[in-house]
Symmetry: C2
Subunit: 311 residues, 2 copies
């Protein structure tokens, strides 16, 4: 009798499991199947005062739903103070293994002599992901990422998600597997999308994930040609193209002030004016109206984490 009950129980579990896998992410989160969910995600928090202040404003008064913090950067303390005093803010970690600006750079969280393969001769993280991928030893990558996560926790940040600055942990399957392992260990969703992995990194994401991972259906990020043609046009087109499912827009909000101009000197792509344009759009009434017209529902990583991963 006990065996039969156990078998029945297992069958129900199997059916339920198969059913849950068929469910869309919006249904798993408790929304109707035709819901267009969107995360509007500001990268690079912690890099500068300008980036912190503009991103916080855009989260509090604009349409930005989430932010992502760079732990090794100089303005970590400032955004961490905000995180501690605003525990409902949706703040994850923009895990960082590169330092791309000309005169304003940062090193590892690990002591430099423990992160040798991740640092250039001046002790800074490399400016590009190619150098990182060629030289960065996986064991030092894992140690450094762990050190960044632990440092964020020490500063009172309870990360809602993980993603990777300049895709530094997406660039090869070895680093990706480290990131997925740490996401599971810390019970935190990771910004993952099959299409982007195939397109940008020629990686078949299916090989490395299980049904534990939450996948985005679509990710959007403005490219230099979009910026040149005008951010308003680009984001309007994106909003109009959004389909039911879990969507994400990556942006970079900062004020085009003297600090941000000096941070991004000689680097017009993703520079100060670009970040001001992102800020302007995502704090506009037009953006809010478009979201409403297109029947798009904003969602946070925290909701995803707490309903689907830490449930």
């Amino acid at each position: 009798m006990k065996k039969i009950i156990t078998l029945c129980y297992c069958s129900i579990l199997l059916i339920f499991s198969a059913f849950s896998q068929q469910k869309t992410i919006q249904e798993r989160l408790g929304y109707p199947k035709d819901t267009k969910l969107l995360i509007i995600h500001a990268d690079d928090l912690g890099v500068s005062q300008s980036e912190n202040a503009a991103s916080i404003y855009a989260m509090e008064n604009g349409s930005v739903s989430s932010g992502s913090i760079m732990v090794p950067c100089p303005w970590l303390g400032d955004i961490a103070a905000y995180a501690r005093s605003h525990p409902s803010a949706d703040l994850g970690l923009h895990l960082t293994l590169t330092s791309e600006w000309k005169n304003y750079r940062w090193g590892s969280v690990l002591p430099a002599n423990q992160a040798g393969s991740l640092l250039n001769t001046a002790g800074f993280l490399y400016s590009d992901t190619d150098s990182l991928s060629q030289i960065g030893r996986p064991e030092e990558v894992e140690k450094e990422i762990r050190a960044q996560i632990e440092r964020a926790k020490l500063f009172g940040i309870d990360p809602t998600h993980f993603d990777a600055h300049m895709g530094c942990l997406f660039i090869n399957p070895t680093y990706l597997q480290i990131l997925i392992k740490l996401g599971r260990e810390y019970k935190v969703p990771i910004l993952l999308n099959k299409e982007a992995f195939k397109l940008l990194y020629n990686i078949d994401l299916s090989k490395y994930i299980s049904d534990k991972e939450v996948l985005l259906d679509k990710v959007f990020m403005a490219q230099p040609n979009n910026y040149k043609a005008g951010m308003r046009d680009y984001y309007t087109t994106v909003f109009k193209s959004i389909q039911p499912g879990l969507n994400c827009i990556l942006l970079h909000a900062a004020y085009e002030n003297s600090e941000m101009q000096a941070v991004t000197v000689d680097h017009p792509d993703y520079g100060a004016a670009w970040r001001q344009a992102d800020f302007d759009f995502f704090t506009s009434a037009e953006c809010r109206n478009l979201l409403q017209q297109q029947n798009i529902k904003l969602v946070t990583w925290k909701e995803i984490r707490d309903k689907l991963i830490r449930n």
Copy 2:
């Protein structure tokens, strides 16, 4: 005959040496004895973009003659780029063993695990000199200061002088002796003044120096009561009080913008408004006129270094 000549030569040397010791510093630099020499010295370069930009402006267009760079700070790369492209700028090292702001902090140049006694549990330099003096092991102080000097050189800075942020190397005779040793080794003058050492640190500077060291006759720095009463009044009084000899004014120039307000948050003394007031005075026509009226001659550390130490 040879012996007599040698004796004569020695006597001449002794007479010359006694004579040179009697000479005032202004005479040793080639100026008349009644010359009022003044170094107008901007501290804290490297701490922020605002501090760098305002200090550079005040050196190029105002009356500031010298600046002093904090090597462990986030904006080192920016001021180092300026130093490389402006080799005649008078830039020394504001050697740094403290990190005093609330949410914007920095660690050591040494890997954290080699500078344990200089760092708090979050890996930052202490916020005050009392903690440093009680805990900081002299051998780690020396290693860290050496690392800062070598890092400055790696960044293309040829320091014109050394001084110490928040007096961190003046606070006890042990640290002071390390600083004097490194000044001699790198052939760089140090910002030293007998009166200030006695008053602020109860140290008799005479015990630790030789005639190799160049001493300032008088050092001035605005205190909170001077700031409250008005910087213009304070500096006007200082200029009118200046006597023949080698004088130095320490100031902190920055723009009172959002970056500097966030750096100095909850810390009104030496805060953003204070630094703007310093900037305003030292870039004013009034300041320039006062210098002229009082017959004060600006001088640089570079001139002192090259005429008296590297001669």
